[in-house]
């Protein structure tokens, strides 16, 4: 049989297979659970040669209802107001930037990693609007107020790069447990230097008396490291 005829016949068979059984012929992996009934209705989401316009998504998933209402409710489904707030805050209108309905070989790939850049800058600056429940209930985080980005990145909560050396360098004998100095639970602003045997109030009073230093409670006001000679003039009356 001539190659051209074989080509045309195969083309017709392939096209026929695609048209008659798109699920078998073309579907790149199973659909996500909520859209399983659309597996043979490609054009419910796809516009020919234009991909998947967001209007195809928002005609069912109105941005105001995402996380709050569903047309298909699996067992155990509950409203997620945080999800609703997140979607209302998105500056992107392209749903496919995060979602894809074809699970493919790896079902985890049905949702792409959320990027904070998808949020408007004003929303991105207000971490607590979405993450308030993540904030540890301790003094350090209470004092940090809403400036999470001072220590954390949007990649992960840990590691956080709080710069303790701005307040006191934790070197030599000072690389100790937090509670050695921060002896008031829940407050990292309060501290004491008398938590170890090296610094006793009596010793410190004696050493500083001849320097004319009377404020012996806020040591870090003058000393920001283990260098005892860096005190300077700040503590003098």
């Amino acid at each position: 049989m001539p190659a051209r005829l074989v080509f045309l016949l195969t083309l017709l068979l392939g096209a026929g297979l695609a048209l008659l059984t798109p699920r078998t012929a073309l579907l790149p992996g199973p659909m996500v659970a909520g859209h399983a009934d659309l597996a043979n209705d490609c054009l419910a989401c796809h516009a020919p040669f234009r991909g998947t316009p967001e209007t195809r998504c928002s005609s069912c998933h109105t941005p105001d209802s995402i996380g709050l209402a569903r047309t298909v409710r699996p067992a155990g489904w509950a409203p997620r107001p945080g999800l609703a707030g997140l979607h209302r805050s998105l500056q992107l209108t392209d749903c496919m930037a995060c979602h894809t309905d074809h699970a493919g070989a790896d079902p985890a790939s049905a949702t792409r990693a959320f990027e904070h850049e998808a949020l408007a800058a004003t929303v991105r600056a207000r971490c607590a609007a979405c993450h308030d429940g993540n904030r540890p209930d301790d003094g350090l985080h209470t004092q940090a107020a809403s400036d999470c980005a001072a220590c954390h990145t949007t990649r992960a909560w840990t590691p956080a790069d709080f710069e303790h050396q701005k307040y006191f360098v934790l070197d030599r004998d000072h690389d100790v447990r937090c509670a050695t100095c921060h002896d008031q639970p829940g407050s990292f602003r309060a501290y004491t230097c008398y938590g170890c045997h090296e610094h006793t109030p009596e010793n410190m009073a004696r050493e500083h008396r001849e320097e004319g230093v009377r404020n012996l409670a806020d040591c870090a006001r003058c000393h920001r490291s283990a260098d005892e000679h860096e005190g300077g003039e700040r503590g003098r009356d």
């Binding site: 049989m1 001539p2 190659a3 051209r4 074989v6 080509f7 045309l8 016949l9 195969t10 083309l11 392939g14 096209a15 297979l17 695609a18 078998t24 012929a25 073309l26 579907l27 790149p28 992996g29 490609c42 796809h46 020919p48 040669f49 234009r50 991909g51 998947t52 496919m96 493919g104 070989a105």
Partner: protein
């Protein structure tokens, strides 16, 4: 003679085919391990371009182009077709999902096997022609030459329709991707 045929002509072609499958599995595993499985998506168009470039030999052979030495273009045809096929094996991701792309992949592998068979026959034909040139009066060589030429002709009768099947299935796949693609 038989041992020589096997070692010099059949084994290299068989090794190239096995190497294609093995390289596909190894590179696919490496891409997944490195979190670079997405690269496979782009290997589709790259592999297709390599395969199209490999057809320069076919154009030259049919005198549709005049430039280029047929010998060099044949060597390029073999190399580019192998490399392009590897790209498309990786593009498939060695995952089973839609049937049409898999039919296209299967057809491509059959074409590669057919092409490698053609390479064996061609090398055999070259040796037979050389042998006949050395001893033009040998009846055995004359018969062998005629048989080899006939075998090459028969091979083309099979190879071309196989190519046509692969091209048609690949075209349907590309058309479907273009139709549904989120541009």
């Amino acid at each position: 003679m038989h041992r020589s045929l096997l070692v010099r002509q059949v084994l290299p072609s068989a090794a190239l085919f096995a190497g294609l499958i093995l390289a596909g599995i190894v590179f696919d595993y490496a891409l997944h391990r490195a979190g670079l499985a997405w690269v496979g998506l782009y290997l589709g168009p790259i592999g297709t371009i390599l395969l199209l470039l490999s057809l320069l030999y076919s154009l030259r052979k049919r005198k549709l182009i005049r430039a280029g030495s047929p010998k060099v273009l044949l060597s390029l045809h073999e190399s580019l077709a192998w490399a392009g096929s590897l790209c498309l094996v990786l593009h498939s991701g060695i995952h089973f999902s839609a049937v049409l792309p898999w039919l296209a992949l299967g057809a491509m592998l059959i074409v590669v096997a057919s092409g490698l068979t053609g390479a064996v026959l061609l090398r055999r034909a070259v040796e037979v022609v050389k042998a006949q040139e050395a001893t033009p009066d040998s009846e055995d060589n004359r018969v062998l030459n005629a048989a080899t030429v006939d075998l090459m002709r028969r091979w083309r009768v099979v190879h071309m329709p196989l190519n046509a099947i692969f091209a048609a299935l690949a075209l349907v796949h590309v058309a479907a991707v273009a139709f549904f693609w989120h541009w």
